[in-house]
């Protein structure tokens, strides 16, 4: 077998593909964070908890109501998004005038509460969520066995990521949003309901976390810990990509997934910290992140 960098080429390709799969999760989650930071100026620490909530709502739909994976893919983002709207309306919207730190502390507290509730109710071992029949099984690609479900996750995440990018960067709605970030007063003067715009943006970004939760449920155990395991990495990705940059978070998410995958091959012990090493390097060389612009 041909070797690249001291490992069989087949193994290397397999690891790259796995990295891409994890990367697409990272991209989906960091995208939501980037939207929230870019539009609302809030560092949403509850994002991981909301992702976990998404997975749990999918599990509850299945176990209590018999509603399966495909309807969940639509219902869960709506439910989690609604929770987000509630959070924004009742709590976050009151903090916009204050320092970032208040939003961070509020969302951090919310994350602890949400996680605590699920932990008390369901323990930490996690609940099983089956892969839908049509997506079970896999293909032998020659260099690795690719479960169909993981392939579906890449495709679904990429569609959602680029759809979001298109919405924000290329549509009128997105233009209003970006304008509202630059100058609220002016946009308001044009008769646009800015607070509503903010609420919608937050609800949408939180719904993205909900979708990611549904996609993750069949791969990982549905566990109260799944949010905190991933959120720190996702924050690092947003910082590396440049705070608030949408394309930056998508590309960095995929890139970090791949780098992590390679680390797992060559130096597995370091796989949990490689993203932070990367973050440190990027911050030294480009303090605004790879795709970020200095904020005024």
């Amino acid at each position: 077998m041909q070797e690249l960098l001291g490992v069989p080429a087949a193994v290397l390709f397999g690891q790259l593909l796995l990295g891409l799969i994890n990367g697409s999760f990272y991209a989906l989650l960091s995208l939501g964070l980037a939207v929230i930071f870019g539009m609302l100026n809030v560092i949403n620490f509850a994002h991981g908890a909301l992702y976990m909530t998404g997975a749990f709502v999918a599990w509850m739909l299945l176990n209590y109501l018999g509603i399966g994976y495909w309807p969940a893919l639509v219902l869960v983002p709506i439910a989690v998004g609604a929770l987000g709207v509630l959070m924004e309306k009742t709590m976050l919207s009151r903090l916009y005038k204050l320092d970032h730190l208040y939003g961070l502390l509020l969302t951090f507290g919310l994350a602890l509460i949400i996680e605590g509730l699920f932990r008390n109710g369901y323990g930490v071992s996690g609940q099983p969520y089956p892969i839908p029949d049509i997506l079970s099984g896999g293909y032998n690609l020659g260099f690795m066995f690719l479960p169909i479900y993981r392939g579906w996750v890449i495709i679904a995440s990429l569609i959602i990521c680029f759809g979001t990018w298109f919405l924000v960067e290329r549509t009128r709605f997105g233009a209003y949003l970006r304008a509202a970030v630059e100058n609220q007063q002016l946009v308001r003067a044009f008769g646009i309901n800015v607070p509503l715009l903010m609420t919608m943006a937050f609800g949408f970004a939180v719904a993205l976390a909900g979708v990611a939760g549904v996609l993750a449920a069949p791969i990982y155990q549905v566990s109260p810990l799944m949010g905190q395991q991933v959120i720190i990495v996702v924050f690092a990705i947003v910082v590396i990509g440049g705070l608030g940059s949408i394309m930056g978070s998508i590309i960095t998410g995929l890139g970090v997934g791949i780098i992590e995958g390679l680390t797992k091959t060559f130096y597995p012990e370091g796989s949990a910290v490689v993203v932070f090493v990367l973050m440190a390097i990027v911050l030294v060389l480009r303090p605004h992140g790879l795709f970020g612009r200095p904020r005024t």
Partner: protein, 403 residues
């Protein structure tokens, strides 16, 4: 996460510091249950272990030689520094007389140093590393429910004898994982098998596909999972997703608790072979305890860690009552003199290196068809007698033995 936990811990300390200074001479026996109460090992020990300790105290009558017994508990978050700080605080300020449970070998190793130094009894039900009765043994420590040697002898040996003679390990990268990998490798090699490779992953990983792919590439007949809790369940789940078991490789879940089987569901877990020190559905006595436990724990059946906590605390109380001394070494010396006979262990004895020797069981997870309901999960394949299950005293590297 860290910020919040630190703040919480601060609050716990503040509360603890406010309570009265006391020790046994103040007429109270205090039991400190220390374990993971929020992370990946919560369900196997956690609040269940605290409840088991309470049951042991209640069954003992709530007092020892006329002195009331109190239970305190805390979350060590699987961090050795936090664990040893709590234990110091408990012993120095709060008058705690015995530390119980402490899963996560790295934390237990740190606590063992503190309790040895402060002459406080340490009853280990949760941790697995054999270092606790070898290099790091102490006259005040009792390693109670199981250890990595017993797991290796049980599951490792059984799988080699069934033809699984080439192994690849997925190892949690800390004291417990290393110990389990080492002990199992020894057993595999002694029985004519061969270890083809190892990959060490960080504790509490969520994605194992990359490691599993490396294990698959190695061509080993058996993939040994030298990890625990959520790491094990995620490994098993993803192994089935990547078609690893279908392609002929076998998984050896070297440490698996009944709560892990419950979390996976029998569809995924069926057929796995595992070693355990306790199964609730073995006889009248074990069922009676499990039913009482379940009634207090939302229907959950006890793991071997939780059942071990009950047994260890009950035995400790008996010893303290007889010796009328709660000094660590005095109490443990008395524990060593008495045999243990309860639902957990028959004729269990505590050796000079601190190892509690009792029978272990090789079990296989039932198929969904065989199971009669929730928590009916194991077929017991055979009993591994205590003298075979644990490392012989003659091989111990414990300084207390060498004199």
């Amino acid at each position: 996460m860290r910020l919040g936990k630190t703040a919480l811990l601060g609050a716990v300390f503040a509360l603890a510091a406010g309570s009265a200074h006391a020790d046994i001479s103040d007429g109270v026996l205090r039991i400190g249950v220390l374990n993971d109460q929020s992370g990946l090992y919560t369900d196997l020990g956690g609040p269940g272990s605290v409840e088991a300790a309470k049951m042991a105290v209640e069954d003992f009558g709530g007092t020892v030689n006329g002195m009331p017994i109190e239970i305190v508990s805390a979350d060590h978050q699987n961090k050795p520094d936090i664990g040893s700080n709590i234990v110091r605080q408990w012993i120095d300020v709060d008058g705690v007389d015995v530390i119980v449970d402490v899963p996560t070998s790295s934390v237990a190793l740190a606590v063992q140093k503190v309790t040895a130094e402060k002459d406080t009894a340490f009853l280990m039900s949760g941790p697995a590393s054999t270092r606790l009765t070898n290099e790091d043994c102490a006259a005040t420590g009792v390693h109670y429910s199981y250890d990595t040697y017993a797991l290796a002898i049980g599951t490792g040996k059984a799988m080699v004898q069934e033809g699984g003679d080439t192994w690849f390990f997925l190892t949690a990268d800390y004291a417990f994982g290393h110990s389990l990998e080492q002990d199992t490798s020894n057993v595999v090699e002694e029985n004519g098998g061969k270890v083809l490779g190892v990959v060490r992953h960080p504790l509490s990983s969520s994605d194992f596909s990359s490691y599993l792919l490396q294990a698959q590439g190695s061509g080993a007949k058996v993939i040994g999972l030298a990890n625990a809790g959520g790491d094990t369940t995620n490994s098993i789940k993803q192994a089935s997703e990547f078609g690893i078991t279908q392609s002929g490789q076998r998984l050896a879940a070297l440490l698996m608790f009944i709560t892990d089987v419950d979390a996976l569901g029998l569809d995924v877990a069926q057929g796995l072979t595992l070693t355990t020190g306790f199964y609730w559905n073995m006889n009248e006595e074990t069922r009676a305890f499990a039913d009482r436990f379940a009634a207090r724990m939302d229907g959950q059946r006890p793991t071997m860690v939780q059942a071990g906590v009950y047994s260890a605390v009950a035995h400790y109380l008996k010893a303290v009552a007889e010796a009328n001394d709660d000094g660590g070494k005095a109490a443990v010396d008395q524990m060593k003199k008495l045999p243990i006979n309860d639902f957990f262990a028959t004729n269990g004895t505590i050796r000079d290196d601190g190892r509690m020797v009792h029978d272990m069981y090789l079990a296989q997870v039932k198929t969904p068809a065989e199971s009669t309901g929730k928590w009916d999960y194991y077929n017991i394949l055979r009993t591994i007698p205590g003298d075979q299950a644990f490392q012989p005293l003659s091989e111990s590297r414990c300084p207390l033995i060498k004199g």
